[in-house]
Structure formats: C-alpha cells, structure tokens
C-alpha cells in the first residue's frame, strides 16, 4: 500500500519535473509548450493512428525488454537482443518467402519457430563462451550485434534480395493482420503480451523459472543444491534470444511484410533501457516498455504536428528517461524523517 503510493508519487514527480524542464526548453525556442505537449499526448493516444503508433512501437519493445530481463534474471547482461531481433527477422522472412508449400497457419508457426531457433542459436554463442570460459558476454554481444546486422544486410542485398531499389527481401506469404489502420499495429501485440505473461508465469511459478532466479541471485548456491548454473545460464540466454527472435518475426510478418535492411536499429537498446530502469523486474518491465512507447509515439506526433524541432523533442524524451532512472530522487519522506531526527539530536545536545 505504502510502497504503491510512494511509487506513484515518484512517477508523478518524474513526469512533472521532466515536463517543466521540457517546457522551459520549448519556450526558449519560442514555441508554445502547452501546444507541444498536447501534440505529444495526441501523438501517443489520439485516434486509431496515434494509439496505433503507440501499440506498434510497444510490440517489439515489450519483447526486447523482456528478452533482456529474462537473461538478467539469470545474471546475464545481454546487449545482444538487437542482433537477435535482426536474425529472427531474417529467418522468419526466409521461411515466409520460401516455404510457401506449407499451409498458411503452419507456415506462420514455422516462421515463428524458425525465428526463435536462429535467434536462440545466436544467443548460445556468447552464453557458452561466458559460462565455460568466462568471456564477458557484454563484450561479445556488443560485437555480435554488428555482425548480425551485416549478415542480414548481406542476405537482403544479395541472395535474398527482392531486386527492388531498397535492400529488402521478397514479401512473405503470410502476414499478421493489422488493426487500427493506418498505423502498423498488428495482432503481434497480443502474441507479445501472451509471451510476456507466459514468461512471468514461467519465472515465478515453474521449476525452470525458479532455477533461473536461483542462478541469477547465487550461482554457487545453485550448483550446490544440484542446479547446473552454467546450463541454466545458457538456457536463459537462449530463451532471451528466442524472445528477441519473436520480436523480429512479428516486425517482419506484422509490420513490414518483408525483411527491410536495418529495420531493427535501436529496438534492442530501447528494450534494454526499459528493462534496466525496471531493474529487470519482469512485472514492472512491460510498464516501462509501454512508457517508452508512449514517449516515442508522442515524440513522432510532436514532430509531425508542431514546429518543435525533432532534436528538441528527443532532448525532452532523454531528460524524461534520465529523471526516471533516479530511484530515490523523490524520496521526500525519508529525507524529512532524517531531518527531523537530526533536529532532535541537536536539541538534545
């Protein structure tokens, strides 16, 4: 009860302080902050298009943030989610374009499975290197992201190229239906939500989840009670990769309809950001992912319908995020308590 209230207060203060700083900046360039914020709000919520944009942004972010969080629960810092999104996407595109002999529903499932397998396999590499030889997964995943981007880039401008002016694959034969047109929100969002719910249940209610949490909090203990911490670490990285792969698959099947070169730039790092702010708590992370999606969609709206330059919009968003990371910025209660105590002490002396 108390915690909830103070959490709410904290969020409120975060929003207020960021809004105020933003307003000052907007005033400085001679625009009307109220109009600008209206535009931000409209951009994120108004009508099918606005809210659809938020939903469309939310879908991959939800998955990438959960992907990061799952790995973090087992003690891994998986910067590689972005690469996994790319590879999942390209796998889905390959299957979606070439396996047309399959009936549609099977093809759809195959796309998802293919994406999960390829992305999961990719995540296995840093996981094994870390678990068995102590190679920092932060280092390898940062490097491997770039490799993943170039691999897909090669494929769509070479062997898988559609031969169009853009580097992209042919269109896939199966799509996730879009709703809330003209935005690109699609039923992938429901798939994502289901997956997140499953992951949360998995983490807190199943044996595998228990193992992940044990390994993440104390690998030596895990080994001692007979949980193979290395194996669990690797498995959770694979799971993380597979979730990233699903994000890629949804983007390809639901948003673009083909694999577009470079489509996932920033998806991984934004997801990571959401998870980090929530300290990889699987229940809180989705809310932060949603918060970031609102900001992103709102920012697009603000650029689209006001004269506030994009750079300023991005600045305000960044300030929002920085303020949001500071957990104890608004713990007034504690501070006041401390002060009172101090005064008491002084009075005594």
């Amino acid at each position: 009860m108390n915690i909830k209230a103070s959490g709410l207060k904290r969020i409120l203060f975060t929003v207020v302080i960021a809004l105020v700083i933003g307003a000052v900046l907007i005033l400085m360039i001679g625009e009307n902050p109220i109009e600008a914020y209206q535009a931000l709000f409209k951009g994120a919520f108004k009508g099918k298009f606005g809210f659809g944009n938020t939903v469309a942004t939310f879908t991959p972010l939800l998955l990438t943030s959960i992907a990061f969080a799952v790995a973090a629960q087992a003690g891994a810092f998986n910067v590689g989610v972005e690469g996994e999104v790319f590879l999942g996407g390209i796998a889905a595109a390959y299957i979606g374009v070439n396996f047309t002999f399959l009936p549609k529903p099977i093809l759809l499932i195959t796309c998802f499975l293919g994406a999960m397998v390829v992305a999961g396999a990719w995540a296995t590499i840093p996981a094994v290197l870390k678990a068995y030889y102590g190679v920092s997964e932060v280092c390898t995943t940062i490097l491997m992201n770039t490799v993943a981007v170039y691999i897909t880039s090669y494929l769509v401008s070479g062997p898988m190229s559609a031969g169009t002016a853009n580097a992209q694959s042919h269109s896939v034969a199966v799509n996730l239906p879009q709703f809330m047109k003209p935005s690109s929100a699609n039923v992938g969002v429901f798939i994502a939500i289901v997956i997140v719910v499953l992951v949360a249940i998995m983490l807190y209610k199943t044996k595998f989840g228990y193992k992940i949490r044990v390994v993440g909090t104390n690998p030596a203990f895990a080994d001692c009670i007979g949980i193979n911490s290395k194996k669990v670490f690797i498995n959770s990285m694979i799971l993380s990769g597979a979730i990233g792969g699903i994000a890629g698959c949804i983007e390809v099947l639901g948003v673009h309809g083909y694999f577009l070169n470079n489509f996932a730039v920033g998806l991984g790092s934004n997801g990571m950001l959401a998870a980090l702010i929530a300290r990889s708590n699987v229940v809180l992370t989705p809310f932060l992912a949603f918060f970031l999606s609102i900001l992103k969609a709102g920012a697009m709206g603000m650029q689209q319908s006001t004269g506030v330059p994009k750079a300023l919009v991005d600045t305000i968003i960044a300030i929002f995020i920085i303020v949001a990371t500071m957990e104890t910025l608004f713990e007034f209660k504690k501070k006041i308590k401390r002060k009172v105590k101090k005064e008491k002490g002084e009075a005594k002396a």
Binding site: N53, S157, G163, N262, F263, M300, G307
Partner: protein
C-alpha cells in the same frame, strides 16, 4: 535550420495556411547530410521563396518513423507529400490509395499509382562521366599528389542497389577511357559515419589510388576530408561539393534532387501535376551532370587538365545522342518497374 525556417506551423487550424499550397517532405534520414537530403531541401526552400508554398520536413531514422511520418502527413491533409527516397515507396504504395485527394511524389524510384508522380535519375550516366574524369585524372602526374599508377577509388555508403547503379556507370566510364584501369571499391556500411568514410578513403590512397568518388551521403564528408588531408583528390556527389574541400575536389556528380523537388511542387502550384507518370531525369534533362570544374581550375592554375573537361563534354554529348549506352544495375533505368 530547415525545421525552424520551413515556416510550417500546426495542423489545418492555422488560418493563414489555408490559401497556401501545403507540402510535406518525408525524409529517410536527417537533414544535414550535405548531400541527397539537403539537396532535396534546397529545392523545397526555393519553392518556399519563389512559389510561396508552405513546406514541412519530417525526418526519421528508422523504418517505423518513416511510415508513421508518411501516414501522419496523409492524415494532416497536405496537398503534396514528397517521399524523398526509395525507402518511402512501399509506404506510398500501401497508404496512397487511401488518400486519393492527396498528391504524392516519390524520388529515386517508381510507384505505380494515379496520384503519385515518380522521379528517377540516371545516376549511372552522371557516374559514367565521373568515372571517365577520374580515369583521365589519375595519370596526370604533373599535378601534385597524382601518381602514374592507373588506380582510382570509389567509396559508397550502405551496400544497397542504387549505389551499384552508381558504380556500374563509374566503372564503365573509367574503363571507356582506359580498359586497364583498376578501380578500388568500398562500402562504409553506413550513411552516417564520416570517420569510417575517411578511413576507407585513406586506405584506398594508401593502395595507390589518387582520386576517389564519394557516394556516401553523411559518410561523405569524411571522404572529402581524407582527400584534403592526404593531398589527394575526390569527386563529390548529389550536391555541388566542390567547395567543401576546395582544391581537393575535382568535380561533383550532381544529382538534381533539388530540381526534382522544386519541379514537382511547381507542378502542383500550376495545376499541372501528372500523377501516375514517371519522370526519368537523365543527362539530357539536366537531372544529372558534372560541375564546371571551376574550383579545382582555380586551385591548380595552369596545371589544370582542360582535356578532361573537353572529353567529358564530348562524352556527355555522345550519351545524350545515344552513341554511348550507359549500363544500369539490375532494377534501374528508364524501364525499371
């Protein structure tokens, strides 16, 4: 600053905007690349000044933003929406039919819809001339920094089809002058990393090239800077970049995106907008060309190889006359799509 002085303000509620033609340009990338996007913006700003239209620029770095920007422009009811690059084409194909009253234009590719005007460029032809100029230049050993080896360079941004169309022409032009010439090709893998461009360019100079063509958008400034720093030469692209590193840039292969942009806005103003057609802007239409070599001429003084200019003029005429057929990369050219 494009955003602040574009003068676009707010939605349709704006009173004074009513009688003006309202144009929105959706970029795939940001302004300030000193190349393609800026060229487009130049045309737009000229239209603002000369035709009194109102222009809104929407920048975006990711595919998600591109689509959202395009759709929001549709929803806002602009008179004309220009998709500044081929990346927008698919979104126009998808959403264009839902906004039959809105006029669209797309640059660098073709969209087959009644309310869309497509504009493409014969970048291969311009590149042909650039390649020929480079091939002649690389043996002018009396110019400082030029060696006798017949090696020229070419640095592109991302490895995407349209750049191969550039390269095809460049290679053909160079080989036309000298079949034995060696061309070093490299892609930076990014549009936005001038330092990478610089490194690649220096690597080509270190391998014996003395002139490198830049086809790298935001990565390009690094290429031009490398030329200056290494005491070698470069060829600019899209905009006239001769003055970016004066004396180090032989010429620029100008792709008149600005003209394309201006002309399509003009057609809307004059009510001559020709939806459903494709304009192919080649050498003949002035869609692509080399600059006039004036900057380098001033810097080289009497060492300036006038024969290159003459030869280029001659080749241009031959291309226009159809005596030389410049090849296209697959998927490009007047008949593409």
């Amino acid at each position: 600053g494009s955003d602040s002085d574009s003068g676009a303000s707010g939605g349709s509620s704006d009173e004074k905007g009513k009688d003006k033609i309202r144009v929105c340009i959706v970029y795939t990338g940001n302004l300030g690349d000193k190349s393609y996007n800026d060229s487009c913006n130049e045309g737009a700003q000229r239209a603002v000044e000369e035709l009194g239209v109102e222009v809104k620029s929407l920048e975006g770095a990711t595919a998600e933003e591109w689509e959202s920007n395009l759709v929001s422009a549709c929803e806002e009811g602009y008179d004309l929406i220009i998709g500044a690059s081929s990346n927008i084409a698919d979104y126009i194909t998808e959403h264009g039919p839902n906004y039959p009253e809105t006029k669209f234009a797309v640059i660098d590719t073709t969209v087959d819809l009644d309310n869309v005007q497509s504009i493409s460029f014969a970048q291969n032809q311009g590149s042909f001339l650039a390649g020929a100029a480079a091939a002649m230049f690389t043996t002018k050993t009396d110019i400082e920094g030029v060696n006798k080896e017949k090696i020229i360079g070419w640095v592109g941004g991302m490895d995407i089809p349209v750049l191969h169309d550039f390269y095809t022409g460049y290679e053909q032009g160079a080989k036309y002058i000298d079949p034995d010439i060696k061309i070093l090709q490299a892609f930076a893998g990014t549009w936005t990393d001038p330092l990478k461009g610089k490194e690649l360019t220096l690597a080509q100079y270190e391998q014996g090239a003395d002139i490198v063509m830049n086809v790298a958008s935001g990565t390009g400034p690094g290429i031009l800077e490398a030329a200056k720093e290494a005491g070698k030469y470069a060829i600019g692209v899209d905009l006239n970049q001769d003055n970016d590193q004066p004396g180090s840039i032989l010429t620029s292969m100008v792709k008149r995106v600005d003209n394309a942009c201006y002309l399509v806005i003009e057609s809307v103003v004059n009510d001559t907008f020709a939806g459903g057609t494709t304009q192919y802007l080649s050498l003949e239409e002035g869609g692509v060309s080399l600059t006039d070599f004036a900057v380098i001429k001033e810097s080289l003084g009497d060492k300036f190889p006038q024969d290159i200019v003459d030869k280029c003029d001659e080749l241009a005429e031959k291309i226009i006359a159809g005596e030389i057929v410049v090849e296209n990369y697959e998927g490009f050219g007047p008949e593409a799509q």
